[in-house]
Structure formats: structure tokens, C-alpha cells
């Protein structure tokens, strides 16, 4: 069994409530940090841990925290990104639903490190029942003296507020999220300046993913150095993977990033193999925005090495022959699935979610959906495949935020690895491969 740091207590009855959570050792990290450490020491511990952002970009968390501007007399904010909308991703939901106190604990310690007296959880609107769970946990933590004024008599004040979004994938992009928090449309801002310099209400702000902030708790408990020993290379600690698609056991798993992709898919501890005794066809290992890989390239890298479930190995081979860890949304396709149709659903998703600010993204996502729909329904031409390729290349790198890239990459990878399937659709307009 792999070592569990986040989900270790997930099955303890009553762990959602404060009493059980506390009895199981909860909030020890708050006592440790606030009573015995300076904010900078907490940041140092996170730096030592090697923790990388779990929202998808993998940016080193300790480094981001140390970039936070600290002008005199200006408030600073911590904002927890709980917008989780990347197709295939549902790990943050699991943490918030079943271990709300773990997130609140991580938020208090992180707020202390960053000097945030008002910390916001921006949660996607569709998770409509979760704010009640979080607010209950916040009220319990406050009643126990871990939130509010003069926490544990240390002079540190902190409040946590839950802010509900209202249905917009783009609000997971940190600057769109901040616009939305300010009560505006979710149009991303141009970076730089990064939120660490100018964020919420123009004040220095750190935006971190739910899982990142929850991971601060075990880091404080076992120490940054100890945390860094788990995993391999720059993939330290544990990672939550949400697995879905045609597998026997969809769900959220905590892995220590030393296991292979093959083990993750086939072992009973994790996905339990492909459903209905079918064969593996392809997989998108890190949420819909990362490249799809056919089975052979998924299980082994181009060099013929076993592909492992960590940041480095998943991206080994670059875009042409590799993929990415991304958000940890692991989508498995069995041999009967149609890549064209699957790609079409993703293209539709990105068209639906484009905020419309940049023409390559606004127009390009629409065109990609239209062309894919034509191919899928037997009205496509061979030249459409090249046209698709052309459009995705014109989007990539030419937009304000990475949603444009995120829309382009799945189409590019699908054509790159499954061109024959696209051609087959064009040549056989009456029937689909499946």
C-alpha cells in the first residue's frame, strides 16, 4: 500500500466533523505553525517540501509564496481555487466533501504564512451542496479558536469565506477567478503582473488549488524534508488522481508518484483494469487539456521505458510522444471508443467555455467543433483534417490565457495519434468505427 498523507483518515467515521477530526490529530499543524514558527519559516518548510501546484501547472508552491509582494499597509490575500471544472477532474470535490477540515486547516496555516487575514474559497457554483459543508467546518474551527481574532492567543486574525461561482470553466484560470470574485465576468487578465503582485482588488494575492493547500498540513506535520523524500525527482509527496472512463473502479486515488501507469490502470488497488474485459485503447492522463496517448505510448515512453505516474515521466517525449500530469484527471478509453467523437465532445466543451475575448480562441473553438461534427456525422472531407490541424496551430500561443492552448492540444494530439481513424470516418460516412 502506498503511503497516504491526504486521504489517510478519509474513511474514519465522523471525520467530517470537528471532534473526530481533532481527535485524530487535526489542527496540530496550526498549533505548530502559529505558536512556534514565523510566517517565513512556514514558507521555508513548504519550499523544502518541493510541493508543486496541484491545480495543473505544477508551479513550485514555496517559490510562489516567496514571490508575494509585501508593500507596507496593503492587505494580502490567499484565494483557494476550488473551481475544478477540467473534464476528468473531481479530486478537489472529494477532499472538500469528505475532509473539509483538512482544507480549512491547510488554509489557516497558509494564511498565516502569507499574512492573509481574509481568505476566500472560490468554489464552482455547481458544487452547490459543498459550501454548506465548508461553512459548517469553518464555524466549528472558529468555535474552537482556530479562526477569528487573536487565534490561539498569537495575535493573528483570520477569516475564511466561501464564494460561489455560477458556471464558467474559465473562472478556474486564476485571473478570471479574481475578476469573478470581484463580481465581474470571468475574463482573464493579461499576465504579468501575476496575482502575487496584483491580484484580488489590486492587492498581492496567492491563488492555490484545494489539493495544494491541503498538502500543507502533512508538510507541516512531518516536515518539508521528510515530505520531499516521498516520490521521485521533482515529483515529491503524494498526488490525488481522479480516474474515470472505461475502467472497473472509477474514483479518487492517492498515489505516491513512484508507481507505473500500467500498475495504476490494472492493479486492484487503483483502477482495477479496463471495464467489461475490454482492451485499453487510449488515455488522457491529466485532464481534458493534456494530449491523449494511445496505449503503447501511454504504458511505455519512446525510449521503451515504463511510463510512471509522475510529472517528469508523463511528459517524457514532449508533445509529440508524451503528455502531462495536468490536474490529475485520468480518462481511460477502451477499444470500442471513437476518438473522433470523444474529441468532438471536448471541442464542444472548449467552444462553450471560451470567454470570447481573443478572436483565435473564440472563433477557432467554434470552427473546430463544427468541423469535428461534420467528420463525426459522415459529412467530412479529407481536407478537413488538415484544416483542423491548421486551426489548432493558429490558436496555440496566440491568446490571452491558456484556454486557447487547452482547446488546441486535445485536437492536435488526437490527429497526431489517430489520423487513420479520422480518415476512416471521412471514407466511411455511413458507419462509425465503434
Amino acid at each position: 500500500m502506498a503511503r497516504k498523507l491526504l486521504l489517510e483518515k478519509a474513511n474514519v467515521p465522523g471525520i467530517r466533523g470537528y471532534e473526530v477530526y481533532r481527535r485524530e490529530g487535526g489542527y496540530a499543524s496550526v498549533e505548530k505553525a502559529l505558536k512556534n514558527m514565523t510566517p517565513d519559516q512556514v514558507t521555508d518548510e513548504v519550499k523544502k517540501s518541493g510541493l508543486r501546484g496541484r491545480g495543473g501547472a505544477g508551479f513550485p508552491t514555496g517559490m510562489k509564496w516567496s514571490f508575494l509582494a509585501k508593500p507596507e499597509g496593503v492587505p494580502r490575500y490567499l484565494v483557494c481555487n476550488a473551481d475544478e471544472s477540467e473534464p476528468g477532474t473531481f479530486k478537489d470535490r472529494y477532499l472538500m466533501e469528505f475532509l473539509p477540515h483538512l482544507l480549512i486547516e491547510g488554509l489557516i496555516v497558509s494564511s498565516y504564512a502569507l499574512g492573509s487575514k481574509a481568505t476566500y474559497i472560490y468554489i464552482r457554483g455547481e458544487y452547490a451542496w459543498i459550501p454548506d459543508i465548508l461553512e459548517q467546518a469553518i464555524a466549528e474551527a472558529r468555535a474552537a479558536g482556530f479562526l477569528g481574532k487573536n487565534i490561539l492567543g498569537t495575535g493573528f486574525d483570520c477569516e475564511i469565506y466561501v464564494h460561489r461561482g455560477a458556471g464558467a470553466y474559465i473562472c478556474g484560470e486564476e485571473t478570471a477567478l479574481l475578476e469573478s470574485l470581484e463580481g465581474k465576468r470571468g475574463n482573464p487578465r493579461i499576465k504579468p503582473p501575476f496575482p502575487a503582485v496584483r491580484g484580488a482588488w489590486d492587492c498581492p494575492t496567492v491563488v492555490n488549488n484545494v489539493e495544494t493547500l491541503a498538502a500543507v498540513v502533512p508538510i507541516m506535520n512531518i516536515g518539508g524534508e521528510e515530505y520531499a523524500k516521498i516520490g521521485v525527482g521533482k515529483s515529491t509527496g503524494t498526488k490525488l488522481i481522479s480516474a474515470c472512463g472505461n475502467i472497473n473502479k472509477p474514483g479518487v486515488y492517492e498515489i505516491d508518484m513512484t508507481i507505473s501507469v500500467e500498475e495504476f490502470i490494472y492493479s486492484d488497488e487503483y483502477c482495477g483494469g479496463i471495464a467489461n474485459g475490454k482492451r485499453l485503447k487510449a488515455c488522457i492522463p491529466g485532464g481534458s487539456s493534456v494530449p491523449i496517448l494511445p496505449a503503447n505510448l501511454l504504458l511505455k515512453t519512446v525510449k521503451g521505458e515504463k511510463r510512471m505516474m509522475n510529472y517528469e515521466s508523463l511528459s517524457d517525449g514532449g508533445f509529440p510522444k508524451g503528455s502531462m500530469m495536468g490536474s490529475g484527471g485520468f480518462i481511460v478509453l477502451d477499444e470500442d471508443q471513437c476518438v473522433v467523437k470523444h474529441t468532438l465532445t471536448l471541442a464542444r466543451f472548449y467552444r462553450h467555455e471560451s470567454c470570447g475575448q481573443c478572436s483565435p480562441c473564440r472563433e477557432g473553438t467554434g470552427w473546430m467543433e463544427k468541423i469535428l461534427k461534420n467528420i463525426d456525422t459522415g459529412k467530412g472531407k479529407k481536407s478537413d483534417i488538415d484544416l483542423l490541424w491548421d486551426i489548432q496551430r493558429k490558436i496555440e500561443g496566440n491568446t490571452i490565457c491558456p484556454l486557447g492552448d487547452a482547446a488546441a492540444w486535445p485536437v492536435a494530439a488526437a490527429i497526431r495519434h489517430f489520423r487513420d481513424e479520422f480518415e476512416w470516418h471521412v471514407d466511411n460516412p455511413q458507419e462509425c468505427l465503434v
Partner: protein
């Protein structure tokens, strides 16, 4: 006339208080949620104008937000809205069949409401339940691992609650 009760007005004040002084615009999304819940499940122009007055905003600031986010309904909807996810991971687990089944069963197309005003069918994009697919959102909650039998049960359940509340 559109008007929050005193209790809801207190709630609005509490929400405004979560944000820094002078930044009451930040309360717009939560207050629109509250308004939609209170005033018939959708946002009429009258409702939006009311929210603008409450938060001291120009009406246009409210309209541009209400039209951006998919959860705000700008038209009346049925009492029960079936929002079925159709994105990749759900599609892999048969969401298309579920959508077809609901269409047949309720006799309506996507985006339509049954003549009795009870049900609206909508397709939506990934709701973060991919591992429990196929799924739909119904009000505040998710209904997961859908099968035709489960859909039948849900429809029955809605009809029963509606009858009991009438």
C-alpha cells in the same frame, strides 16, 4: 414586485460584509444566486434591476454578469431542471443514451420544458462527477450512476413531491 424579505436582506448584508470595504460589487454572484432562488428560479430584468439597486451598481453591470455565467437562467424554467452532462468522460459511460431516454420519456427535446411546466431538459458540460457517470444535476444535488430505471425513479419522485406541494 420583487423584494427580499427582511431575513434575506440580512443575508445580503452578511454577504456584502465578507468583502473589503467599498467592494460590495464582489457580492454580485452570491446575491444573484439568492435572487434566483427567491424569485422563481430565474432572473427577470426586474430582478436584476433590483439587485443593481441593492448593491448600488448600474443595471448593465448586473446584466453583463448574469449573461456570462451558465447557472443564471434568463428565462423561466420548469420546476425540475434535468441538467445532464454530455462531456467526454460521461459520454464514454453512456450519457447519450440517458439523454435519449429522458427525451423519449418526457416527450421533449433538449432546452424544452414539459407542457405542465414540471420538467426542463438541458445538456451541460462536465460537472466534476466524471467518475460517477452518467450523471445529472437536479437542483442543489447531483444524481449519479444514472440508468433508465434510475431516471424513472427520479421522475416519479419529482412528480410526487410536486403533487404533495400543490
Amino acid at each position: 414586485m420583487v423584494q427580499f424579505s427582511d431575513e434575506k436582506l440580512k443575508k445580503v448584508n452578511e454577504i456584502v460584509g465578507r468583502y473589503p470595504e467599498g467592494k460590495q460589487k464582489s457580492a454580485l454572484l452570491p446575491v444573484l444566486h439568492l435572487a434566483q432562488e427567491e424569485f422563481g428560479g430565474w432572473l427577470s430584468v426586474e430582478t436584476m434591476d433590483y439587485v443593481a439597486t441593492l448593491l448600488k451598481l448600474e443595471p448593465i453591470e448586473v446584466y453583463e454578469v448574469a449573461t456570462f455565467y451558465s447557472m443564471y437562467n434568463l428565462k423561466p424554467v420548469g420546476r425540475y431542471m434535468f441538467e445532464v452532462c454530455q462531456t467526454g468522460p460521461c459520454m464514454l459511460r453512456g450519457s447519450d443514451d440517458i439523454i435519449d431516454y429522458i427525451k423519449k420519456k418526457l416527450g421533449i427535446g433538449v432546452g424544452e420544458t414539459t407542457p405542465d411546466g414540471l420538467f426542463t431538459l438541458k445538456t451541460v458540460e462536465c460537472l466534476g462527477a466524471c467518475g460517477y457517470a452518467p450523471m445529472m444535476q437536479l437542483g442543489k444535488h447531483f444524481r449519479e450512476h444514472l440508468t433508465p430505471e434510475k431516471v424513472d425513479q427520479i421522475i416519479e419522485e419529482c412528480r410526487r413531491t410536486a403533487a404533495a406541494n400543490n
